[in-house]
Structure formats: structure tokens, C-alpha cells
């Protein structure tokens, strides 16, 4: 499978990067015979062993029939990518706009798309949820949330 090959390649690259980054840690070995590098080095070796195991599993499964690719999987990735990008934008504007406005806009778009056509529950949830949770968390539970452009 292509996915498994990518995982194997990723594992090897990660091991190399991790070994390199471990070598960059400055160490003063006073009163600590191992220092901060020893355990990470073990992990790097563990990662190489994992790569070997992965290769072994792939070798064993080389004759197995591949599962057919699900139809519409490209659409799936588009959906995931779209939601992830929208969520990223939400987090980007989380502090500048404040929790209430950013969340309301975020929810309006997502519920509008995934719960299509039902405007009344979508709009009321998108507006009431951020206001109620904001008041509950900041005033009731003392958790600080971004205030943003709103005066309260």
C-alpha cells in the first residue's frame, strides 16, 4: 500500500531529524551521568526498530490483495481540508474578533453547510451558544476567553 510506504519514509525521516536535533542539545554532564540526550537517543533507536518492523509487515503483506479505494475519497479530503481551513481561520480571528463573534460566524457557516436549509435552529444556536458559554465560562467559572472587539 502506498500509505504504508509513506509512513515508512516518514518514520525514517523523523528518526534522522530527531537524531540531528538531539545532537544539537547542549549538555553539561554534572551529577547526571546520562544527560538530557541519552533517553532521546534510545527513542531514536526505537524509531529505527519500528521502521524495520513496518518494513517487515509490508513484506509479509506484499501478496495480499489491496482493498479497493473508496469512491468519493477525494471529496472526503476536500471536506476535511475545507473544515480544517475554516477552523484555522476561526482560530486566527479568535483573539482579534473575540470569542463571541468569531464563534458565531464559525458556527453559522458550518451549520449552514452541514445542516442545510434549517435556518431557525442554525442561526439561533450560532448566536445563543457563544453568548451563553461566554457568560458561563468567564463570569461563572472564571475561565478567561478572548474578549475581542466587544466591550464586555
Amino acid at each position: 500500500m502506498i500509505a504504508d510506504r509513506i509512513i515508512l519514509a516518514f518514520t525514517l525521516v523523523l528518526a534522522a531529524v530527531y537524531f540531528w536535533a538531539t545532537a544539537q542539545i547542549p549538555s553539561l554532564e554534572i551529577g547526571d551521568p546520562l544527560g538530557p540526550k541519552a533517553f532521546p537517543r534510545l527513542l531514536g533507536i526505537g524509531l529505527l526498530l519500528t521502521a524495520a518492523l513496518l518494513a517487515g509487515e509490508m513484506w509479509k503483506a506484499r501478496h495480499e490483495k489491496r482493498a479497493p479505494v473508496e469512491p468519493g475519497s477525494l471529496v472526503h479530503y476536500l471536506v476535511v481540508g475545507g473544515v480544517a481551513a475554516w477552523t484555522w481561520l476561526y482560530f486566527l480571528l479568535f483573539e482579534p474578533l473575540g470569542f463571541i463573534i468569531a464563534t458565531a460566524v464559525y458556527l453559522l457557516v458550518l451549520t449552514g453547510y452541514f445542516n442545510r436549509g434549517r435556518w431557525i435552529p442554525n442561526v439561533s444556536t450560532s448566536i445563543l451558544f457563544p453568548i451563553i458559554t461566554y457568560l458561563l465560562f468567564t463570569k461563572g467559572l472564571g475561565v478567561s476567553l478572548a474578549r475581542g472587539v466587544l466591550p464586555f
Binding site: 500509505a3 504504508d4 509512513i7 518514520t11 530527531y18 536535533a21 542539545i25 549538555s27 553539561l28 547526571d32 551521568p33 546520562l34 544527560g35 538530557p36 541519552a38 533517553f39 532521546p40 534510545l42 527513542l43 526505537g46 524509531l47 526498530l49 518492523l53 513496518l54 517487515g56 509487515e57 468519493g72 472526503h76 471536506v79 476535511v80 473544515v83 480544517a84 477552523t87 484555522w88 476561526y90 482560530f91 479568535f94 483573539e95 470569542f99 464563534t103 464559525y106 458556527l107 458550518l110 451549520t111 452541514f114 445542516n115 442545510r116 435552529p121 442554525n122 444556536t125 451558544f129 457563544p130 458559554t133 465560562f137 467559572l141 472564571g142 475561565v143 478567561s144 476567553l145 478572548a146
Partner: protein
């Protein structure tokens, strides 16, 4: 005698009105989270950490434990009424529970899972009460070498037992350990792998990893399903919410056996509730005089697995409380919560804070009674939750996750991290890399490195210390066996089969 006093004192702690309230809140939340697909106990407990900060730790932990065992009750409701497990461990209940509901016996299926969960859950807590102390006093003899090998065993067992491929389980474990090494090294004061980002000096918080991998990734999966038009159909609660004499007679055996299987599997690292319920299901099918009824609405197929996954939660608390080493994803998150409160579970906790330990354990007796009431007479209310359109529910979960992640430090970086780990969790699911081993090793990573270095300091740098005592030797051998098992087992099976042929 002393123990008995502690147990009774524990009741005095958990019966305080404030703790009763938090027990109720925990099991109530647990039932909701169990009923709702898309958010599970791990993410909920992680999200509760910032909210409960500053609370009395005993009350907070009582509540979080309530979420942990409460979800198992709620999970079966969704499994029975819409054939989607509300929790992974309820997957076996979808087989016969949904069939019962289709035949108009939803009431009986819900009743037997609530009653079975109650009996087995209580049985599990009794076993926890009995076994905790002897195990804790044994663990008092553990030094750093013993702890290191114990954690090694927990990790190898979880890596090789969760998911389809042990190599991918190992990969997840090591990734978790690597994430745990990010931040300032506590012994030398050197920053490691911080990539110049100041926030990383304190390390990557496990809350953001758990919330990302368990909640955000689940939302991404769920939204793809909505887009694909995979909507589940909700069956009505049909029939009386009670069992006939015949059904009762058929269920009681599976409940007892499921309870025992669940507890034992729960104590062992790695396996967890899902495997406990699968084991119980196959056991009941094998013992049944009518195995052909399984999959077509056999009540044994609901009673056994539901009992097993509830006893499992009590069993899973045994190693967490007595050794301080969890054996799975959800208990790892619970350990993380303990540590956030500055409390280290383990043998010393039984000596230093018996009020907390026994208050927590005893609250589970009360919590199970509350859950029985919530999940039998009041089940109709929770079923209403399933009417919330998931197109609204899933976006709300992201916002709740954002509140939880931002609430810890007020840092936007944590928001980006939950998104990053959410996408990563989605990809992991697609390519069959299990998430639980990563969470476990992330939580244990710091402790593991510390005990490794302490042990090596004691031995003057000689790794022989990990093979010196009988305990470490046993644990090392068990670790090797748990890695080798997935490779050896199919061969043994094939050999036996060819001999039988």
C-alpha cells in the same frame, strides 16, 4: 482493621453534599457524552481540566472518574437505538441490541444493559476495593528500575494490542514519547526540541493533544460522514423498560461472566473495554445452546458485553491508583488530570491521602446507583439528545474544544495545536495508526525518562539494573512477549490448524 476504617472514612468523604453533587455531575455528563457519538470520555476529561482548576482535587477527580465510567452506560443507548456505538466499547452491543430494538424489544435491551452495567460495575468496584491495598503495598517496594520496566510493559502491551498493526502501535508509542521530550529537561535545565518557540519550553500540553486527537479528529470524521449522506435512523424505545422472567434468567449468567472478564481485562494493560466486550460476546456465543440466535437479537449478546465494558472501567483504575501507571488511553488522561492537581497516584497515595483514594473509590458505588436511575427511568430524556442534528452538534464540539484549549493558558498556539492534532488524528485513523498508545506514552513519557535516569544514576550507568530483580526481569520478559505475541500467535494458530487437518 485500619483498611476498613479508611474505606468507611471514604464514604464520609464521598457522601458530603458537595461530593455527591460532583459525582452526579460526573455521571450525568458521562451519560450525555456516552449517548452522543463524536465525543468520548478522554476528550471530555481533558476538557474538564481547565474548568475544574482551583477546585478541591477530591471533588474534581470524583467528577472526572464519574465521566469515565458513566460513558459506558450511555454508549449502549446509541448502540441499541441507532446501531452506532456511542463509545468504542459498545460496538458489540450494536449486533444484538439493535436487532432487539428492531423486533420491538428496545426496552428490554436498554434495561438489560443498564442492569448488567450496574451489577458488573458494582462488582468491579468491590474487586477494586479488595485488590487495591495488597497491590499498593507490593508496589511500595518498587524502585526506579521497577517503574521503568513497568511503564515499558504498559506501553508495549498497549502498542501491540490496540489497532491492527503492532508496528504502527509502536510508531504511535514512540511519537508520544518524543512529544513528551519537548520542553525544558528538568534535570539539566536544557531546553529540548523547542524549535525556538517560547511556549514549548513548558512542553506540549497533553490536554491539547487529547482534545485534538479525540474530539477534533472525530468531528472531521463525522462531518465527512454527513457529507457522504450516512445518516443513522433512530429507533423508538419499544416495549416495557424491564425484563421478562425468561430474559432475566438468560441474562444473569452472561452478566456475571462478563463482569469477571471485564475486570480482569481492565486490570491488564493494553486490552481495554472493547476487547473485554468482544471476549465476553464470543464466550457467551460459545456457551449458548442457541448460538445461531446471536446477531439476531440474543439478549445474552447485550448483557455480557455491556457488563464486561463496565467492569473494565473499575479494573482499569486498579493499576492507575495502586501503581500510578495507566493501561490505556482514557486512564492515561485521568492520570494527566491527577498530575495537573499535583497528585501522584501510586502506593504512597494510599498512605498519604487515604481520604482522596477511598473517597474516589467509594464514590463509584454511589455513582453506579445514580447511573442506574439515569439510565433506566430517565433514559427517555437522554434519547432526546440523539435528536440534535449532528450538523449542529459537531461544529459545537469544535467550539467547546476551543474553550477548553484556550482556557488553560489563554494561548492561541494551543488552538492551532488542537487543529494540528485533530488533522493528525484524522490521518492516523485513515492509515490505521492507533491513537491510544500515543496518549499513554505522552502522559507517561516524563516519568519514564525520569525513572530511567534515576535507575542509571543508582547503578552508575550500568544498564544491568533493569535485569537485576525478579520484578524487573518478569516485566522485561512480559514486554518482550507482548511485542512478540502478534507475530507468533498467527503462526501457532496456523500450526494447530494444520495439525487438526
Amino acid at each position: 482493621m485500619d483498611t476498613l476504617t479508611h474505606i468507611i472514612n471514604g464514604f464520609a468523604v464521598c457522601l458530603q453534599p458537595i461530593n455527591l453533587w460532583y459525582t452526579f455531575l460526573g455521571v450525568f455528563l458521562g451519560t450525555i457524552v456516552g449517548v452522543l457519538p463524536g465525543i468520548g470520555p478522554s476528550a471530555t476529561i481533558a476538557l474538564l481540566i481547565p474548568v475544574t482548576f482551583g477546585m478541591n482535587p477530591t471533588s474534581a477527580l470524583i467528577m472526572m472518574a464519574g465521566v469515565f465510567y458513566g460513558t459506558k452506560y450511555g454508549g449502549s443507548t446509541t448502540a441499541i437505538l441507532i446501531r452506532t456505538p456511542g463509545e468504542a466499547a459498545s460496538v458489540m452491543t450494536t449486533l444484538d441490541g439493535y436487532e432487539m430494538a428492531r423486533k420491538g424489544r428496545a426496552g428490554a435491551a436498554l434495561a438489560v444493559s443498564a442492569i448488567g452495567s450496574f451489577i458488573a460495575g458494582t462488582l468491579g468496584v468491590i474487586a477494586l476495593t479488595i485488590f487495591a491495598l495488597p497491590l499498593a503495598s507490593m508496589a511500595l517496594k518498587f524502585g526506579p528500575a521497577e517503574y521503568f520496566t513497568l511503564m515499558l510493559f504498559a506501553m508495549t502491551a498497549v502498542a501491540s494490542l490496540t489497532g491492527k498493526s503492532p508496528a504502527k502501535g509502536m510508531l504511535a508509542t514512540i511519537l508520544g514519547l518524543m512529544i513528551a521530550t519537548i520542553g525544558i529537561d528538568l534535570q539539566s535545565g536544557q531546553p529540548r526540541y523547542t524549535m525556538g518557540i517560547a511556549e514549548f519550553q513548558d512542553g506540549v500540553g497533553f490536554v491539547v493533544v487529547v482534545v485534538g486527537m479525540f474530539a477534533v479528529s472525530e468531528v472531521l470524521r463525522g462531518l465527512v460522514d454527513i457529507h457522504g449522506g450516512k445518516a443513522a435512523k433512530l429507533l423508538p424505545i419499544s416495549g416495557k423498560l424491564w425484563l421478562t422472567k425468561e430474559e432475566w434468567k438468560r441474562s444473569i449468567g452472561p452478566i456475571w461472566r462478563g463482569g469477571i472478564i471485564g475486570f480482569v481485562i481492565g486490570v491488564l494493560p493494553g486490552a481495554g473495554g472493547t476487547i473485554a466486550s468482544i471476549l465476553s460476546y464470543t464466550t457467551e456465543k460459545r456457551l449458548s445452546k442457541h448460538p445461531e440466535e446471536f446477531g439476531h437479537g440474543a439478549i445474552e449478546g447485550v448483557a455480557g458485553p455491556e457488563a464486561a465494558n463496565n467492569a473494565d472501567t473499575a479494573g482499569a483504575l486498579v493499576p492507575l491508583l495502586t501503581l500510578g501507571v495507566p493501561g490505556g488511553g482514557s486512564t492515561a488522561v485521568l492520570l494527566g488530570a491527577f498530575i495537573m492537581y499535583g497528585i501522584q497516584p501510586g502506593p504512597l497515595l494510599f498512605q498519604n491521602r487515604p481520604d482522596l483514594v477511598w473517597g474516589l473509590v467509594d464514590s463509584m458505588y454511589i455513582g453506579n446507583i445514580m447511573l442506574l436511575i439515569l439510565n433506566l427511568p430517565l433514559i427517555g430524556l437522554f434519547v432526546k439528545l440523539l435528536l440534535i442534528p449532528i450538523g449542529i452538534l459537531y461544529p459545537l464540539i469544535v467550539s467547546i474544544a476551543a474553550i477548553g484549549a484556550y482556557g488553560i493558558n489563554g494561548s492561541v498556539l494551543d488552538l492551532y495545536l488542537i487543529l494540528l492534532f485533530g488533522v493528525l488524528g484524522y490521518i492516523f485513523d485513515k492509515v490505521d495508526i492507533p491513537v491510544a498508545p500515543l496518549v499513554l506514552s505522552l502522559v507517561l513519557g516524563g516519568m519514564m525518562e525520569q525513572s530511567f535516569r534515576q535507575a542509571m544514576t543508582i547503578s552508575g550507568g550500568n544498564p544491568k539494573i533493569f535485569f537485576n530483580s525478579a520484578i524487573t526481569m518478569t516485566l522485561v520478559v512480559m514486554s518482550i512477549i507482548s511485542i512478540a505475541l502478534p507475530f507468533v500467535l498467527p503462526r501457532i494458530k496456523a500450526m494447530l490448524k494444520s495439525e487438526a487437518d
